[in-house]
């Protein structure tokens, strides 16, 4: 009974994985099919035509450049804000903290369209027209919250005694932040910057209302899909899928290598302790040191 239900369970997971991945295979496959309408069935023949068309599309390149510019701006705005907010909220308690925390995470739970429209209206009041700058500000308003949460989590493992020690030893405030606090936060800041970058590239809802007449990649794809669909979008999708897969597999590979190195080091240590233990009992036996 137990093994049978386990078998069913594995089957479910397998189907779930297929469900997640097959749509991407279909979409990628359609990029290589020589059919005017993106589909894998019927299979007409292999072509690279859609990639050529994609690369010749000047509008796509402009949208690509815009997307990267906005993403960089969002990283520059949201990483310092998120870090500052996390440090601030980490040092207060009580009702103030609850209220501030609620305000900080609220943008995550707000629909992107609402953020986009409110940003557009607010800046319009001061005569700032819609454009990519507003997209960056709108996106930063909720992406900062992601950075804040990451940094806040990292701060939990921070030993404040280190700062005390540095101050006692005569460090000035800048040195405390630069030499003690920031180095501890680097992993969270790095992760925050990466998440901010990719969240910004992904964003559609906020961008749609704030972009003015500029295109970003998601808006470009959207307008392409709405006005006569051609498989060039699939070509773009296939490129994205392959790039994503390569990056993720690289990180997984790097992680495994690191893990192996750690295990190897632990083994070495274990052998040395063993050797020492044996050595204490039987002084005549000597082990060659590993490594």
């Amino acid at each position: 009974m137990r093994s049978r239900s386990n078998w069913l369970f594995h089957l479910y997971i397998f189907i779930f994985l297929l469900y997640m991945l097959l749509p991407l295979v279909v979409m990628g496959g359609a990029a290589l099919n020589d059919s005017r309408f993106p589909s894998v069935y019927p299979w007409v023949g292999f072509t690279s035509q859609w990639f050529v068309e994609l690369f010749q599309d000047a509008r796509m390149w402009q949208a690509f450049v815009n997307t990267i510019l906005v993403a960089i701006a969002v990283v520059i705005i949201s990483v310092p804000i998120g870090a500052a907010a996390a440090i601030l909220i980490n040092s207060i308690a009580g009702t103030t903290r609850t209220v501030l925390y609620g305000l900080m995470v609220a943008p995550i739970l707000t629909p992107g369209a609402v953020i986009g429209i409110s940003t557009l209206l607010f800046w319009n009041e001061f005569g700032v027209p819609a454009g990519l700058h507003l997209s960056a500000l709108g996106q930063a308003s909720y992406i900062s919250a992601f950075v804040m949460l990451l940094v806040l989590a990292r701060l939990q493992s921070f030993d404040r005694g280190l700062e005390e020690a540095a101050l006692d030893l005569g460090a000035n405030y800048n040195q405390v932040v630069r030499r003690i606090l920031l180095p501890h936060l680097y992993p969270a800041l790095g992760a925050g910057a990466a998440i901010a970058f990719f969240q910004s590239i992904e964003n559609f809802n906020t961008t749609l209302f704030t972009r003015g007449t500029y295109d970003t990649l998601t808006v470009y794809v959207f307008s392409k899909v709405r006005s006569g669909i051609t498989p060039t979008i699939n070509a773009l999708a296939l490129i994205l899928i392959v790039v994503t897969l390569v990056i993720m597999l690289y990180f997984e590979w790097a992680r495994r290598r690191k893990e192996k190195a750690l295990v190897a080091r632990a083994d070495t240590k274990e052998q040395i302790t063993k050797a020492e233990a044996i050595g204490r009992n039987q002084p005549q036996v000597t082990f060659p040191p590993t490594q």
Binding site: F9, Y12, I13, F16, M20, L21, P23, L24, V26, M27, P38, S39, V40, Y41, I81, A85, L88, S91, L100, Y101, L103, M104, V105, P107, L109, T110, P111, G112, A113, V114, I117, S118, L121, F122, L137, A140, S141, S144, A145, L149, A153, R160, Y173, V177, F198, F204, N205, F209, L217, T218, V221, F222, V225, R226, I229, A237, T244, L245, M248, E252
Partner: protein, 315 residues
């Protein structure tokens, strides 16, 4: 606060405060207040602004309740609408459908994801989990619009799904998937699935496996172990997933546009129509505010039902 001053001195502390204040005031609170204020004002020609006609009014909100018409109500997975015996304003109909299908999406993703989250956290060989995650996360990193687009291809009348089903012999003739809210629901579930999976996974993972073992040793059948031990422990994750999926689904623009049938209209389309087609930003902000209130109510409901704090939901 004095704590911060002592550690980092005046300059740095005020920099932190200034950055946070800029974020919360200029990027978050004031824009929302403007949205609210504008939603109570009329869309007027430039000359009339500040004049006698520029008054606060509920007209924009009232416009959501105009144009009553026959209520064609789409039940989940029905191929034909039910004609309700009452008339309702068109925007109210759209709003109700949006609420209903965002909820349906939330429930489906929860049912689909819970077993997978449990499997990843407690059943799978820990060595394989990272690789499984690579498989699961690839769709996540390929953007939302492309995930929806994939289903546009799959669900086409002469698309791969119909062809596969006909060839296997499950169905005799192709099915029209893009009727009612079917295709939109398919799309929403696929696109936002991982926002449900990840929080539940991390919640179950934090449960001590010994507790599950103890329940089993004491003779609890599998379902009761889930009901009494695992699900109560993973409540914050479930709440978080439900809130995220509901909010993303109700606020989605891409999926309902890409996978729309002729009958499925989404509330965000009504907002877009006001903003872009009528260029009436005031009415647009009134509708946007209604969406915001809806999502806020859902967050509060989820906090009440699951008895969790906001800090459990947004982590």
């Amino acid at each position: 606060m004095s704590e911060l001053l002592r550690r980092y001195g005046h300059t740095l502390t005020w920099t932190f405060v200034a950055l946070t204040a800029f974020w919360l005031l200029v990027l978050v609170i004031l824009p929302q207040l403007y949205l609210l204020e504008e939603s109570f004002r009329l869309y007027l020609p430039l000359a009339d602004i500040g004049g006698p006609r520029d008054v606060y009014t509920l007209a924009n909100y009232r416009s959501a309740f105009e144009q009553p018409m026959e209520w064609k109500f789409w039940l989940p997975f029905a191929s034909k609408p039910v004609i309700l015996p009452i008339e309702a304003p068109i925007r109210v109909q759209v709003f109700v459908h949006t609420l209903l299908y965002s909820t349906v999406t939330t429930v489906i993703t929860l049912v689909l994801c819970y077993p997978v989250a449990y499997y990843l956290a407690k059943v799978a060989n820990p060595k394989n989990v990272p690789l499984l995650f690579v498989g699961l996360l690839v769709p996540m990193w390929v953007s939302e619009i492309l995930r929806a687009f994939a289903w546009f291809i799959i669900l086409a009348f002469k698309g791969p799904l119909n062809m596969a089903l006909v060839n296997i012999g499950v169905i005799d003739s192709p099915i029209r998937w893009m009727t009612g809210f079917n295709s939109v629901t398919f799309g929403l579930v696929y696109v936002y699935l991982l926002f449900m999976l990840l929080p539940i996974y991390s919640a179950i993972q934090s449960l001590d496996t010994n507790q599950i073992e103890a329940a089993k040793d004491l003779g609890a059948p599998g379902w009761r172990t889930h009901w009494r031990v695992i699900i109560p422990h993973s409540k914050p994750g479930i709440a978080s997933g439900c809130v995220m999926v509901f909010m993303l689904a109700a606020g989605s623009i891409l999926v309902p546009t890409l996978l729309a049938s002729t009958q499925s209209r989404w509330f965000t389309e009504i907002i877009q129509q006001a903003m872009f087609e009528s260029q009436d930003w005031n009415t647009g902000s009134a509708y946007a505010f209604m969406l915001l209130v809806t999502c806020t109510v859902f967050v509060i409901l989820a906090m009440r039902v699951f008895r969790v704090k906001l800090s459990d939901i947004a982590r």
